[in-house]
């Protein structure tokens, strides 16, 4: 199946709603059947979803790989850690989420000016460079950020002045993630996205029909960054700790890898990918602790080599299509024979 063709057709309406409903129902009910530790794993997966959607947007609309999601996760996390931990101001989510968002959006817009200046390799490398610069700044500014120790003792969050239990926070994360998924669905179906797809198809032509290429690309980058900012704010509460490793470029790479596992040609890709990646990580580090980098790295390389960017959802789709056509064939043949 030709990837370019699928890329260009925006996702169908309705299909994603079904997916999201199914996911929501699953996530609402699951805490009653599993242990607290398993719940934190699912919570982590839910929180990763917006950040991976950021990578997905840049991949499917700009055809660029963004290794720098960790920049914005780190920024969101540190904003939370400062405001709700070290320099305690508030632990109110209704204030912290917008605060984190505003800061990540400002940073994403300014950094986007430089990063979207060029494409391909340079785009990816600038993403990596920015995370490493932030890492070194945070690592070395001991007095402010706590250096390699990071910041722990972040207060438990409260929502509209009601303090949240762990389970309550889990549901908050679920609501935020579902909202982000619906929002992303709107954005990916908008005329904004159609024009970005056009830019990825042919930049000169896009410019000649009056599309402000650089500004739109920068805005897409900003949207991706804002997604990661949301993830960052909530992750700081989930871990109750923020350290310089949030700015690690390998950590940013994990989001790209999640997107690749899930596949970047279908809207369900990031969701499937995140659950896939986090489960893979969990089981591999439980069973072969020393080998997990090697196994994950090889898995991703093999996925890219064999199915490219189709991922799990792509394979599922083509299998489904094949079964469908087979069933049709058998139906026809029985009809003929009968």
């Amino acid at each position: 199946m030709n990837t370019e063709a699928i890329m260009a057709i925006p996702p169908k309406r309705g299909g994603t709603l079904l997916w999201t409903l199914a996911l929501t129902a699953f996530a609402v009910l699951i805490p009653f059947f599993i242990s607290g530790y398993q719940r934190t794993l699912i919570q982590k997966s839910l929180l990763w979803i917006p950040a991976v959607f950021g990578v997905y947007i840049l991949y499917s609309l700009l055809r660029q790989v963004h290794f720098g999601q960790s920049i914005f996760i780190g920024l969101g996390s540190y904003v939370t850690a400062f405001l709700a931990g070290k320099y305690y101001v508030t632990n109110e989510l209704l204030i912290l989420l917008p605060a984190g968002l505003i800061i990540t959006i400002i940073f994403a817009y300014v950094l986007g000016i430089f990063i979207t200046k060029r494409t391909g390799f340079y785009f990816a490398v600038m993403g990596i460079a920015v995370t490493m610069v932030f890492w070194s700044l945070v690592y070395k500014a001991r007095t402010i950020t706590g250096g390699s120790d990071g910041i722990s003792h972040i207060k438990h969050p409260c929502l509209a002045t009601f303090p949240l239990s762990d389970l309550g926070f889990y549901y908050v994360c679920l609501v935020v993630t579902v909202c982000m998924i619906l929002l992303m669905q709107r954005i990916l179906n908008s005329s904004f996205s159609l024009q970005l797809r056009a830019i990825a198809g042919d930049l000169d032509k896009a410019e000649s029909i009056g599309i402000p290429v650089k500004r739109m690309q920068n805005l897409a980058f900003t949207i991706a960054g804002a997604n990661a900012g949301v993830t960052g704010v909530l992750l700081a509460f989930a871990y109750n700790y923020v350290g310089p490793s949030t700015f690690d470029w390998g950590y940013g790479g994990n989001f790209v890898q999640s997107a690749i596992i899930g596949g970047v040609n279908s809207f369900a890709g990031p969701i499937v990918g995140v659950f896939g990646f986090i489960n893979l990580e969990f089981f591999i580090s439980a069973w072969f602790a020393d080998l997990w980098e090697i196994i994950i790295g090889l898995t991703i390389a093999i996925i890219v080599v064999t199915v490219g960017e189709e991922g799990v959802t792509g394979i599922a789709q083509s299998l489904f299509a094949r079964i469908k056509s087979k069933m049709k064939n058998t139906k026809e043949s029985t009809y003929k024979n009968g």
């Binding site: 370019e4 954005i187 908008s190 904004f192 056009a198 000649s208 029909i209 500004r215 739109m216």
Partner: protein, 256 residues
């Protein structure tokens, strides 16, 4: 000519110059076009025709000289802004969005010309006016029957027409057409030209058409400019121009 002079002056180019190293691609060219005026531009390969068009659209910036659109200086204005103001160009090699359907190609142009760049939350299919306008354009250019086909599955001729349709979606004031018929069979050539000329006349546009096929130029019968080494060497009706000695010298061996 007298007719054109009453029309408002659209574009004026003053001593435009672009050198690539030693090559004088466009050498101090001046040009004026008014509304409804159609010029055909001919010349051998490397005479600077495409560079001139690129200078006008802003894809290439000039070394010297200025370009004015309706009296406003637009020399440094970026290409997307110029397209919005009405200078629109089709490409020599078809530049279309290969991976998208014909409908989406034209729709993108319509969205852009309506200025809907930052509509993040509205579904594309909910933009009724845009869809109506797109359908109208597809009808105008005889594309309605291939609307749902991916562009890359279509032939050269179709791609040229799609390219032109996208330019018309921009509501151009002046249309720059770079070899609309290159790489297209004889029969399609005439069809494309006819479609193009009909629409140009119907909308009373100014146009510069670069064309290699001299028979076609003759058939069109519009005012013709011959370009050589970055300069205009002859200008007038095709019959007049093609009988000039130096023009024959340059274009000899080009089937004329």
């Amino acid at each position: 000519m007298a007719d054109n002079e009453r029309m408002p002056l659209l574009l004026s180019v003053n001593k435009l110059r672009k050198y690539y190293g030693e090559v004088k691609s466009v050498n101090d060219i001046s040009l004026e076009i008014s509304q409804g005026q159609v010029l055909t531009l001919v010349g051998a390969n490397g005479a600077g025709k495409t560079t001139l068009l690129n200078l006008l659209t802003g894809l290439v910036l000039p070394d010297q000289g200025e370009i004015r659109l309706l009296g406003d200086k637009i020399t440094g204005v970026p290409p997307d802004q110029r397209a919005k103001r009405g200078i629109v160009k089709t490409f020599q090699l078809e530049h279309v969005f290969e991976g998208m359907t014909v409908f989406d190609n034209v729709r993108t142009a319509c969205l852009s010309s309506a200025g809907k760049h930052y509509a993040f939350f509205k579904h594309v299919d909910d933009e009724r006016e845009i869809i109506d306008k797109t359908n109208q354009l597809l009808d105008m250019f005889d594309l309605a029957k291939v609307g749902r086909t991916l562009v890359k599955n279509l032939g050269h001729g179709y791609k040229k027409v799609i390219d032109i349709a996208m330019c018309f979606a921009m509501k151009p004031k002046i249309l720059l057409v770079d070899e609309p018929t290159s790489g297209v069979g004889e029969e399609e050539k005439c069809r494309i030209m006819e479609l193009l000329m009909n629409q140009i006349q119907a909308n009373n546009l100014a146009a510069i058409i670069v064309e290699h096929d001299l028979n076609l130029v003759k058939e069109l019968g519009k005012e013709t400019i011959v370009m050589c080494e970055g300069e205009f060497i002859a200008r007038g009706t095709p019959d007049y121009v093609f009988n000039q000695e130096k023009v024959i010298e340059i274009l000899v061996g080009k089937g004329f």
